[in-house]
Amino acid sequence: MLKQVMLGLLLASALSTVALAEEPKAGGVINAVIQPEPPGLMMGLVQNGPTQMVSGNIYEGLLRYSPKLEPLPGLAESWNVSEDGKTYTFKLRKGVTWHDGKPFTSADVAFSIEFLKQTHPRARSNFAQVDKIETPDDSTVIFNLKQPFGPFLGVFEVGSLPMIPKHIYEGTDFKTNPANNTPVGTGPFMFKEWQKGSFIRLVKNPNYYIKGKPNLDEIYWHVIPDAAARAVAFETGKVDVLPGGSVENFDVPRLSKLKNVCVTGAGWEFFSPHSWLWLNNRQGPTANKKFRQAVMYAMDRNFAKDVIWNGLGKVATGPSGSSIKHYSGDVPKYDYDPAKAKALLKEAGYNGEKVRLLPLPYGETWQRWAEAVKQNLQDVGINVEMVSTDVAGWNQKTSEWDYDIAFTYVYQYGDPALGVSRTYVSSQIAKGNPFNNVEGYSNPEIDKLFAEGAVAFPDAARKPIYDKAQKILVDDVPVAWLLELQFPTVTRCNVKNLITTAIGVNDGFRDAWLDK
């Protein structure tokens, strides 16, 4: 008997009912901003943010996710999980074609997994538990896992598993295939033109498998390198959509007061960007747990949220963001308490040794935040020296562990096994990677809990394991958690239905329409 049956169609119809509250209008062009310019648009080869934002319109995954991270139909119309949690069967939509007219089949799904295992670091680890993939017919794909893997149903969105056309890539050198310059997907929009340094143009896929979709005719992604210039481009009406992070935060209140401008923090639930300070657990004052706890008490994180981030986001309670699975708020609390921080520093035997603070070189907002934290730490007597660098330097310094305290933020991908454990388990301590256990925290109990949590089945069995892990981590403070970030998406209010899923504008503009 199948224990769990996911009736995605039901969910989809529920969502579309909401969308039907306003009747979509067909036609129109949306001008959006993309920054920085993507290095390429072939999602199987390039996984950075701008690539996904543009190519999320061209490529598709098997599933999409609601803001509550429930799976929704994508290229798969339904799916089910076997009772032992080791077999996942997906039924694909029929009548789907690639942009070049060839049919999309289960063979493309199996090929995509093999492709991505070679080129996509996340897919490599997400599908490590897959023992065998079967494709009994053109519209059925069966994943047989070696053991249950709790987050498995959460690894099928377009960024994690974009479908790659087998007929174009099979037997070729993926990296040099000429088709990389003219990406072919199944998505609602097709690649049309890319004038490097200026714009990327996508046009409507006339053969899209959902009748009437997409509503828009074209999308222009404008490449504007300066944040102030991007704000002006919006202000002067040249662009309609500023995806999260396009403009400096201090510009958002001003822009939001303009006529016909809407701002939303939605569409980041899956990524759940979580910010913290790396604290080098290996050496110096930050190797002392009491010092690390003092850092937590010393920071006025509400000030950072309200002033630097204009009230968007939440103060982080620990390693997991509150929108991802198995989050627990039942952990030790670190409210702003300079007196307590001072007492802990005394207990830690801190004697004013110099501590290097590395800001994240992602623009003015992050620079201001670093200055605020520096002031907080100095107020309790920590001798802070700010070390500035560019992005390449920041990558180098953090991944080579050449820092004492360093700002960062990381995506959590909806599940602690996908985006949280990598920061804390000792098997992830390895130089040369700015997104693993950079702080050098090692705790056998945490290693065991995260290992158990990933494979526990059913899903409810995972919760107590992660609850315990979160409690231990928050007490140990391997890193100093800052905020659950929300990057505001700023649009003209007549751009409707832009954000409908947990990855927001990264899921393409399939449902978006313009109210003229």
Binding site: I224, A229, N395, K397, Y411, N433, P434
Partner: protein, 323 residues
């Protein structure tokens, strides 16, 4: 004269190679590499991913091997492949060069023309209110940072008055042709070209004024006046021509930077040119692209130094070419 040019060209090749080697080493001394930057942008990384990128970019080879490969490429006019943009560097530079030349060329003409005119006027009316006004304005334009002038120009002419576009090379999606296209590009060009032009215009004005005032004191100017020549003729034929040498030197320097000299302006105005390409290549540690831009810029500087020397000769026939 031909011997002089040949000798200078031979020296230029040596200088260019030295520049290539020096830049190659300097860039690699900066922290981080393109593989790390791209892994960083992906938000997730593992050892295989970074190693694959390094292998793909040839960064897994020892430095002398990388240098040998690069110099060998340069000798055969191959500027290599851009890691980030996934295109041959020469093609990338070729694509962006027209936009940059249009921008900096326009700025060059604006600045030289108006700079010399204002400088001449200031010298002609030295000590009057016109001289004071020109001198003060020149000082302001000379001293104000370019990016600030750019932002203020956008605020005034794009946001407040809505006269001119604030970014880009043309109106995307408008598909203008013929005269409409020329006018569209022209409208996009006005703000960035004027912004760059203001700084150099100020410099030319100040230099022309100072130089002309100095030349005016010479005896041959008094002689010209004693001969009964009209003032305009004296100013143009005797004073201005003799005062132009330092201006030519400066113009030569500015012309040398035509290719790579608009980094800030191109970034603020999203102008798709070489300067922006260089800025982005630097941030992304796109070694080949950055070196390629440096090579082209260096070649331009060397070429314009030579051209400047040749122009000296025509401006001042007393100068002779020594071989």
């Amino acid at each position: 004269m031909l011997a002089f040019i040949a000798q200078r060209l031979a020296k230029a090749v040596v200088v260019l190679l030295a520049i290539v080697v020096l830049n190659f080493m300097l860039i690699r001394m900066a922290p981080g590499d393109p593989a790390m930057v791209m892994a960083g942008e992906a938000g997730v990384s593992d050892k295989i991913f970074v190693e694959q990128l390094r292998e793909k970019f040839g960064l897994d080879q020892p430095l002398p091997v990388q240098l040998y490969r690069y110099v060998k490429g340069i000798v055969t006019l191959d500027l290599g492949f851009s890691f980030r943009q996934q295109m041959p560097v020469a093609r990338l530079i070729g694509e962006r060069l027209p936009a940059t030349l249009l921008l900096t060329g326009t700025a060059f003409v604006i600045s030289l023309l108006f700079g010399v005119i204002f400088g001449t006027l200031a010298a002609r009316f030295a000590g009057t209110w016109a001289d004071t006004a020109i001198t003060i304005l020149a000082l302001i334009f000379y001293a104000t940072p370019l990016f600030w002038i750019s932002l203020m120009a956008i605020l005034l002419f794009s946001v407040t008055m809505e006269w001119l576009p604030s970014f880009g090379y043309e109106t995307v999606g408008a598909n203008y042709t013929g005269l409409a296209h020329v006018l569209d590009v022209g409208a996009h060009l006005i703000l960035p070209a004027t912004t760059i032009g203001l700084f150099f215009m100020a410099t030319y004005a100040r230099m022309t004024r100072a130089s002309m005032l100095e030349v005016k004191r010479h005896d041959f100017v008094k002689t010209a006046r004693a001969k009964g020549l009209r003032d305009a003729v004296i100013q143009r034929r005797h004073v201005l021509r003799n005062a132009l040498l330092p201006v030519v030197t400066l113009a030569g320097l500015q012309a040398g930077t035509l290719v790579g000299g608009a980094v800030l302006t191109e970034t603020v105005f999203a102008w798709p040119g070489i300067g922006r390409l260089m800025y982005e290549a630097l941030l992304q540690r796109d070694y080949n692209l950055l070196l390629g831009v440096f090579v082209v810029c260096s070649a331009m500087v060397l070429a314009f130094n030579l051209i400047t020397d040749l122009i000296y000769r025509s401006v001042d026939p007393r100068i002779e070419f020594a071989s």
